[in-house]
């Protein structure tokens, strides 16, 4: 065993320990926020009451507040945050560009438009809404991809086309709102930038099931994903079946993204922020699927807590993530432009 080998073995193990430590820390913070979501509200309940309600005991008054109002809100926020974080990370890594995320290229807008259409025009059931949002998301990906492919594929073209498609989809959503005579801002906000208000437990089920099924699949493919990050040619020569891998990753990521969107609306910027933050914290040496998901949870829940309690008025979560996220996007743009990568 020579020196180099000893050295890289030690430092890689050090990096791995760091990765595990940070990921665990993120998980703890996420759990803490989940607990806080259940405790805080008009009445603040102690941990003991929250646990008892969750275990099915009767606690005076707390059952309704925690079980019916706060639990669905927390579950929707946590699972949607995870889905946006993971889905965003998958797209950013696969397309090798933090700007190529589901928010910017219009995938979440596609799901959102399909969901709104089902609600407003068809007055459809939850199941239909879920399916439609997945179909809407996949169709958007397909359209963008076909249009971007053209003569020579480039990420820049894909992003521009995505932005164009998104402008149309948002106009379509506004039109649907008009049809439904829902000129009220809360509803409009939900479908344009995301909100957790008035969440019901049963409407979170499709999202929860999808996340539980898709996360292992995406984790299993995460090693191939990090090969794709090296570019099409390098990945192929390392023995990755790039087309199959891409299809699995896209379908998996779009399913969770679409269901998250159908549940909470496209919560602004979470899919964009989670991946780059994860990379800042743990580097790119290991797969960042889990850290990105956890950061997604933290972002959504923290933003929702801020929106609910930090001001005299309640703000929907998407407004808060929008205000936090957009400056970061601008910062990232400045950095990318300076480097001259675009």
């Amino acid at each position: 065993m020579n020196n180099t080998m000893l050295h890289i073995q030690q430092s890689r193990q050090k990096r791995k320990r760091r990765y595990i430590a940070i990921t665990s820390l993120l998980a703890c913070i996420a759990l803490l926020l989940c607990g806080t979501m259940l405790m805080l509200g008009n009445t603040i309940y102690p941990v003991r009451d929250v646990v008892r309600v969750l275990l099915g005991h009767d606690v005076d008054g707390a059952n309704f507040a925690i079980g019916t109002i706060r639990l669905p809100r927390m579950l929707a926020g946590a699972f949607a945050g995870f889905a946006f974080g993971v889905g965003g990370y998958v797209f950013q890594t696969m397309l090798r560009n933090p700007l190529a995320n589901p928010n910017v290229i219009g995938i979440t807008a596609g799901s959102s438009a399909a969901a709104v259409f089902c609600i407003v025009v068809l007055q459809a059931s939850n199941t239909v809404i879920s399916i439609a949002s997945v179909v809407g998301g996949l169709a958007t990906v397909l359209i963008i991809y076909v249009l971007a492919k053209g003569a020579s594929f480039s990420i820049g073209r894909l992003i521009l086309i995505g932005i164009g498609i998104q402008a149309m989809l948002n106009a379509f959503i506004s039109y649907l709102m008009l049809l439904a005579n829902t000129h009220d801002i809360p509803t409009a906000l939900r479908w344009l930038s995301g909100s957790l208000n008035g969440m019901k437990l049963e409407s979170t089920y499709p999202l929860i099931i999808a996340v539980i099924i898709m996360t292992p699949l995406l984790l299993y493919f995460s090693k191939r994903l990090s090969m794709l990050e090296l570019g099409e040619q390098a990945a192929t020569s390392l023995g990755v079946d790039t087309n199959r891998t891409r299809i699995v990753l896209i379908v998996g990521a779009v399913i969770i993204l679409a269901l998250a969107t159908a549940t909470t609306g496209p919560i602004a910027f979470v899919a964009f922020l989670a991946g780059p933050i994860a990379q800042r914290l743990v580097g790119s040496d290991f797969s960042n699927v889990l850290p990105a998901g956890l950061i997604g949870i933290i972002l959504v829940l923290a933003a929702d807590l801020i929106g609910q309690f930090a001001f005299s008025v309640r703000y929907p979560v998407g407004v808060i993530t929008g205000i936090i996220g957009a400056p970061y996007l601008i910062y990232l743009l400045i950095r990318i432009n300076r480097k001259g990568d675009l």
């Binding site: 073209r157 106009a171 400045i334 675009l342």
Partner: protein, 343 residues
């Protein structure tokens, strides 16, 4: 060699200039007629005549027509302003996709107007205009600065992304300011969707000075903008002060789109659409693009408004929604045609 100068600049009209101009004028007449006749209420010929030529007749039809006349004039002026603003912005940024909405300038105007309503109790269109122009101007400079960082300058991709990011943060702020203030929400909501239905003689009179100043600036800067199209270095070599010209033309563009936005709300893609169509037909000379772009913008916005009235009947479909719907595909089309290095 030194005494060879281009002293007399002969204006050579583009090949199809007159044909296009006549065609557009005819189209304009048809548009105006359509805008008078169509709407949630169809008007009889007699009613139309009453409304147009007999100011003393006070039938319901006549008053509907009189409203439509105001609305039509207003939408023509807004469309023309947006068309010219788009052409100017594209020339200033040397970029085929510059448009007030894509660059986030509309949202900048929105934020300032909302702040005015919320914090300074501003409620007259007179005051909106200055706020909207200030907001538009600051946003335009901000977006352009970010988009042009780096070695390759302001590429379409960089500008669009900078605009989208800026729009996102500004609209979050708009919402944040509005949510706690229901009264602001009501006032703003009407404005926000982008509609020319708010047109009145007062608004038109208010708008005219801005339109005239903007167009004069556009025409004055046009020859220099043509030089700018060849690149900053060449333009400097031709004796153009690129910084001054850029600033001057940008002021013109912002006056136009800021005033239009203040009065009609954010209406997207008109500048992109109009300028692109015109350039496609008559070529790159900005001196000819400007007037035709104004005509085309006026026509597109008015037709979109008529369609909105018909589609949204019995209410109306806001014109901002429609223009986004027809404008976005143009953005995609330009993107698909563009060479990669140009992105």
């Amino acid at each position: 060699m030194g005494d060879v100068q281009v002293t007399k600049r002969q204006i050579i009209l583009p090949k199809h200039f007159w044909k296009v101009a006549i065609l557009l004028s005819l189209l304009l007449l048809v548009t105006i007629a359509a805008s008078f006749i169509f709407g949630s209420r169809t008007i009889s010929m007699a009613g139309l005549m009453d409304g147009l030529f007999h100011p003393d007749v006070t039938s319901h039809e006549a008053s509907v027509i009189r409203q439509r006349i105001v609305r039509t004039i207003f939408s023509l002026l807004c469309g023309a302003a947006l068309g010219v603003a788009g052409a100017l912005m594209q020339a200033v940024t040397r970029n085929p996709i510059a448009d007030p909405s894509i660059l986030g300038v509309n949202t900048g105007a929105s934020l300032f107007v909302v702040c005015g309503i919320a914090f300074f109790n501003i409620s007259t269109a007179n005051e909106y205009i200055w706020l909207a122009i200030a907001g538009a101007f600051i946003t335009a400079i901000f977006v352009f600065t970010i988009g042009s960082l780096g070695a390759s300058g302001a590429t379409p991709l960089k500008l669009v992304l900078a605009g989208a990011a800026t729009s996102a943060i500004l609209s979050s702020l708009v919402t944040a300011i509005m949510i706690p203030r229901t009264n602001v929400m009501d006032e703003f909501r009407f404005w926000q969707v982008g509609s020319v239905g708010s047109g009145s003689w007062d608004n038109i009179l208010l708008f005219l000075p801005f339109l005239i100043v903007g167009i004069v600036i556009a025409l004055l800067t046009a020859p220099a903008l043509n030089a700018l199209a060849l690149g900053d270095e060449v333009a400097t070599g031709l004796g153009v002060n690129t910084v001054t010209i850029r600033l001057f033309a940008a002021v013109g563009a912002v006056l136009l789109c800021g005033a239009a936005t203040a009065l009609a709300g954010p209406i997207g893609f008109i500048g992109l659409l109009a300028t692109h169509v015109v350039r496609l037909v008559i070529g790159p000379d900005i001196r000819f693009i400007l007037p035709l772009s104004a005509l085309t913008g006026a026509i597109i916005l008015t037709i979109a408004d008529v369609c909105g009235r018909l589609l949204g009947s019995p209410g109306e479909l806001e014109v901002g929604i429609l223009t986004a719907f027809i404008g976005a595909p143009i953005l995609i089309l330009i993107t698909m045609k563009a060479k990669m290095r140009a992105l």
